[in-house]
Amino acid sequence: MSGLLKFSGRDRAAGPVIGLLLLLLVLSPVLGLHAIPGLGLSIYGVNLVGQVMCFALLAMALDLMWGSAGVLSLGHGLFFAFGGYLSAMHLLKTAYAQTHVLPDFLQFMGQSAFPAFWWPFGSASLSVLAIILLPGLLAFIFGYVSFRSRVNGVYFSIITQALTYTAMLLMFRNETGFGGNNGMTGFNTIAGLPIGGMKAAVLLTMLSTAAVLVVLVGGRAMLATRFGRMLTAIRDDEARLRFLGYDTLWLKLAAWCLSAIIAAVAGALYVPQVGIINPTLLDPSLSIEVAVWVAVGGRGGLCGAVLGAVLVNTLKFWMSAAAPTVWPFVLALLVLLVVLVLPNGLMDLSNRSRAWIAELTKGDVPGAKTVRRLS
């Protein structure tokens, strides 16, 4: 039993995962630009890696709230899409500067120029600022209102989902001015590189992988500080923490805004890789799926989120090509398996395997007396 608990604070998979990500960061230009003759990846392949990295970022954003503070958002697609739309606005402005052709959806609305509020998106640095600040601001307002009214648990989850759904309905409307159900597409270049080309794919994949590394390492370091312990305390017993003199509203709000910003950055990196954004990213099913990735990988500590996002999405890419009708059943089976056998996802496998073996050799039932990190 003490053997199991010894690992409760750290994840044994963290080192290998960070190592693999570093390897990926080095390998993506090497394989993408065919530095070694005869050994390389297609643009599609490099792109896929980049997209999966964006999902890993999104999963970590969710885990920061769910795994650490016990607050489950079923609406992180909102921030992901928000970042994506802002990124698309920058790409459209860039394309316009080169082609002087206004995007279709604006022409259909009878516009002869970009609306005035698009002006900051002509600048790359202002766009980056907007991608961080605007979703952060939205998260702050929504989080402040919810946490102040002490909306917790499943009620909070439902509200986040409703918010995403509302945003989806809003963005589906052409009058909203962001392309309606067709969304925004027709991107030309990013950082001077043609979108759809190998160089852009390598750049975006490297950026996404680097972002995953920064959030994973930085986030884990943050969770090891007193702030991280405060979040754990909120998860275990928020009222107790409040009665110790901590205004938990601000602690949750800080983590929530950080989480939203990470999700927005993920979306902003994702959109140029897929070349389009439309309101389907705001569909609640994506937001729920993110929770599945994290649950499969293992909550808390961010490492499980990366593993879960990578494994489930790789499986999804492969299966939806090989056997698209079977995929939903496989996903459902995966969820059941995790709930029944590995309550804390795949991280259980790595964190507890040694202790399980130790217990097995003593003849105990594995997992019977384990104290779970997460309820």
Partner: protein
């Protein structure tokens, strides 16, 4: 109670209602420094509600609760009340199970003169470590200091939570059924612990059902019934008081 004793908490004309139910009815109550004050009474007498008022969990309809005779507590938030020197141990042991014993105490060491932001970035300085070590001694969990609180026994969790309340040096310590669910031996140890906490800088209020425990620890006993004081005095007198006997046995 003599007039020279300093009141930590003075409750006057307190009324608490939940819908049409009156939980506390025009209560007057004082808790003074240096004393262990036990509050007993049948179920529904308003004992826990009284602690809820002191900690901001419930709101008073009218009346006043003063700390040190000057600070009005009835309108303060839970956080402000905690920071102004009120510490509470809950009925159900409430510790942070995923954190170690030391980490629990370290978080509980919340200095009132620091903003939350400063507390987030506070370093583990010597004063902090000494305070935590001191409490570990008092509650006798030194050997478990690096164990996650989740694996502690029920009694140890209760002691840890008492330690978490004490580490901030609160003026008023509220203990809600500290020996509920404890073995006789643990109860005995808890009694010793509570007696040792008596200090001129501290008022201790204990809500408890275990009468033998109360007799061991209490300097003064208040018997509540239907939200009002039925009896006040020492435990021996309480046990022979006909009104007290009536509410406990008469129904």
């Amino acid at each position: 109670m003599s007039q020279v004793e300093k009141n930590a908490l003075s409750v006057k004309g307190l009324i608490v209602q939940f819908g049409s139910f009156t939980a506390i009815n025009n209560l007057t109550f004082n808790a003074s420094y240096g004393h262990v004050h036990a509050v007993i009474g049948p179920n529904g007498a308003g004992k826990t509600t009284l602690l809820d008022i002191f900690t901001g969990r419930s709101r008073a309809r009218s009346g006043s609760v003063l700390l040190d005779g000057k600070l009005e507590l009835t309108h303060l938030s839970e956080v402000k009340l905690a920071l102004s020197g009120i510490g509470r141990k809950f009925q159900k042991p409430s510790v942070f199970e995923a954190l170690t014993v030391t980490e629990n105490l370290d978080l509980a060491f919340r200095r009132a003169d620091r903003s939350l932001l400063k507390e987030v970035f506070a370093r583990s300085d010597q004063a902090r470590r000494d305070a935590v070590d001191g409490i570990l001694q008092i509650i006798g969990l030194g050997a478990q200091r690096h164990a996650p609180a989740g694996i502690l026994s029920h009694g140890q969790k209760q002691w840890l939570e008492i330690g978490m309340v004490l580490v901030r040096q609160p003026k008023v310590v509220l203990l809600d059924e500290p020996v509920a669910g404890m073995s006789d031996e643990e109860t005995e140890q808890t009694a010793k612990l509570v007696r040792s906490l008596r200090s001129p800088e501290r008022a201790i209020i204990v809500v408890e059902h275990d009468m033998d425990f109360v007799e061991q620890i209490a300097d003064l006993v208040t018997v509540l019934d239907q939200g009002a004081t039925l009896f006040e005095g020492d435990m021996k007198a309480a046990r022979t008081d006909p009104r007290v006997l009536d509410v406990y046995i008469g129904r």
